[in-house]
């Protein structure tokens, strides 16, 4: 028996066994979401559904208010993600290419944010937001979300900008280009792969954020998807098909983005490491 082949077969058995464990929870969600409660309780999770139905999904969407949560999450994500990445790229340019006083301390100040658990800011931010009349509104999530996205985005973008040769910039300055033109015409286009990765990673982080939403949002009409999903579990607690249908609806966007755009992910993470 060829040793290499045996090794390969054993490797596949191991990888596949693990694959089944890893994918099973997704199947359980689908198998639960697409059948009636009655069918589930009499035949068990692992049986083939008697009928494939979409009533639970409609139920979660309408009665469970998923449509409202979706609207809020989409609006918030569409506004927050591009704004956050642009603001981070603006400050990453000076941090990578200029010389000025307090450059190093400024960079370290932003990096410290990597370690800060959001929990330490929750109560003071609640007080600030209520003074600004932003508590329980989507803009009330927008600003803290931007603040928490900045450290990682600045770290990665500064790393990318540093690798752009100074000669490119010097040539542009000799031609009389302003700092903004250099940023807009040289830095941004060359950092495209990093920006794409950051946009995707930030989309996931924003769509998934739960802790701040839990503290800052109270009314049904402004809840985001994770917060709404949590509330829906309370409302439908033992109606497993509806809870799993809502879960399915909540995770479809992140799964789709992940599967379609995963090549950016790998390069983005890699870029972050190499700094």
């Amino acid at each position: 028996m060829n040793n290499d082949r045996l090794e390969k077969i054993l490797l596949y058995i191991f990888l596949t066994a693990l694959l089944i464990l890893w994918i099973a929870p997704f199947f359980i969600v689908i198998l639960t979401a697409l059948r009636t409660q009655n069918d589930l309780l009499t035949n068990g999770v692992f049986s083939i559904p008697e009928n494939i139905i979409f009533d639970n999904i409609l139920n979660a969407w309408n009665k469970g208010n998923m449509s409202t949560y979706y609207r809020n999450s989409i609006v918030l994500t569409l506004l927050k993600v591009p704004t956050g990445v642009i603001i981070a790229s603006l400050v990453a340019f000076p941090l990578a290419k200029w010389k000025f006083k307090f450059k190093e301390p400024l960079f370290i100040l932003f990096l410290i944010g990597l370690a800060v658990p959001i929990h330490v800011t929750l109560l003071p931010n609640t007080i600030t937001l209520s003074k600004l009349n932003l508590l329980n509104t989507l803009p009330g999530l927008f600003f803290p979300y931007i603040a928490f996205g900045l450290p990682m985005q600045i770290l990665i973008l500064r790393g990318f900008f540093s690798t752009i040769p100074n000669a490119f910039l010097e040539a542009a300055y000799i031609d009389g280009a302003s700092e903004f033109i250099v940023y807009r015409r040289i830095m941004l286009p060359l950092a495209k792969p990093a920006i794409a990765a950051l946009v995707i990673m930030d989309f996931l982080a924003t769509w998934n954020e739960f802790t701040m939403a839990l503290i800052f949002i109270h009314s049904e009409q402004w809840k985001t998807v994770p917060l709404g999903l949590m509330g829906l579990q309370g409302q439908f607690s033992s109606n497993y098909p509806t809870v799993m249908a809502a879960t399915l609806v909540a995770i479809i966007p992140v799964i789709l983005i992940y599967i379609l755009l995963q090549r950016f992910f790998v390069t983005g993470l890699g870029g972050g490491i190499k700094g």
């Binding site: 890893w22 359980i28 000076p94």
Partner: protein
């Protein structure tokens, strides 16, 4: 060259100000304010705060609940540093070979990492459901009916059940980072080792592991900081810290005290204890990142 000069015009400040302002108002200032609150006895609402020095911190270390909380956080950290690191490394090495279908494997192992924590918590709560859950159904169907139990309803199994959930979510992250690290190792290193007569295992110990040093540093710091921050949604959705206080962790306990028990000073002290732990871990990482450039 002009752009290397040290002076800062108003136009140039516009690059820095938006990020700096938002960051100062919603990150730096709240941290300082939270530290001040942690030195007071305060319910979080009334206008008066009583200054009590570090009494909240002393109370934390006197309270027996704190030991359950710290024990759970420590256990979570240790388990995360062992299982996902080893499994992630094994998977990365396996998937670094030119196996057909390896992208499918990689995609699926990493996929739980992109889900919202609350969704992960709800999915696994359903798997662990005492009456109809998948885990008990499997046990019954393979003749292990005597092990059927309410996994999240009893202190002996609730926290281990949460750990399994977090492992399921986390393994893909180290795998992907190790894969990126492996692809940067020069094949020549292995070729010359082969000529010197090193076997596969020796190559792994003396080439692969040392070459992955940077990946290890990042994986370990991300997992440790993640163990402090990210378990919140999972514990919140699965057990709410119960039964009793058996699955309570720092982040959820901080939330309970600050927002449910009206002990804002005490809750802020817990938040600062978390912050100090995270800082101690991340500072070496920051030093590596700043030294590189």
């Amino acid at each position: 060259m002009d752009f290397k000069k040290g002076n800062m015009s108003l136009k140039r400040l516009l690059f820095i100000l938006p990020a700096l302002l938002i960051y100062l108002v919603f990150m730096v200032y709240p941290m300082v304010r939270s530290l001040i609150i942690s030195l007071h006895k305060w319910d979080g609402l009334s206008p008066e705060m009583d200054f009590i020095g570090i009494k909240n911190y002393i109370d934390f270390f006197k309270d027996p609940v704190s030991y359950t909380v710290l024990k759970n956080n420590l256990l979570l950290m240790i388990v995360l540093l062992i299982v996902p690191v080893i499994l992630g490394l094994v998977l990365a090495v396996a998937l670094n070979k030119k196996l057909p279908g390896r992208i499918v494997y990689r995609t699926i192992y990493y996929s739980p990492y992109v889900l919202p924590m609350v969704a992960v918590g709800l999915i696994w709560s359903w798997i662990y459901d005492p009456m109809f859950g998948a885990l008990n159904s499997i046990l019954k169907s393979v003749g292990l009916g005597q092990y059927v139990q309410g996994w999240l309803g009893q202190p002996s199994t609730a926290f281990p059940a949460i750990l399994v959930t977090i492992i399921w979510r986390s393994v893909g992250m180290p795998m992907l980072l190790f894969l990126a690290g492996l692809q940067d190792i020069s094949p020549q290193l292995y070729e010359s080792a082969e000529i010197d007569g090193a076997n596969k295992f020796q190559q792994f110990i003396y080439i692969t592991i040392p070459q992955l040093k940077q990946s290890f540093a990042i994986v370990i710091s991300l997992l440790i900081v993640g163990s402090l921050k990210q378990a919140f949604g999972i514990v919140y959705a699965m057990t709410w810290g119960g039964p009793g206080r058996s699955t309570q962790i720092l982040s959820v306990w901080m939330y309970f005290n600050t927002f449910l028990y009206e002990k804002a000073g005490y809750g802020s002290a817990i938040a600062w204890i978390m912050t100090i732990i995270a800082m101690l871990i991340i500072i070496p990482y920051i030093r590596i990142m700043t030294k590189n450039t």
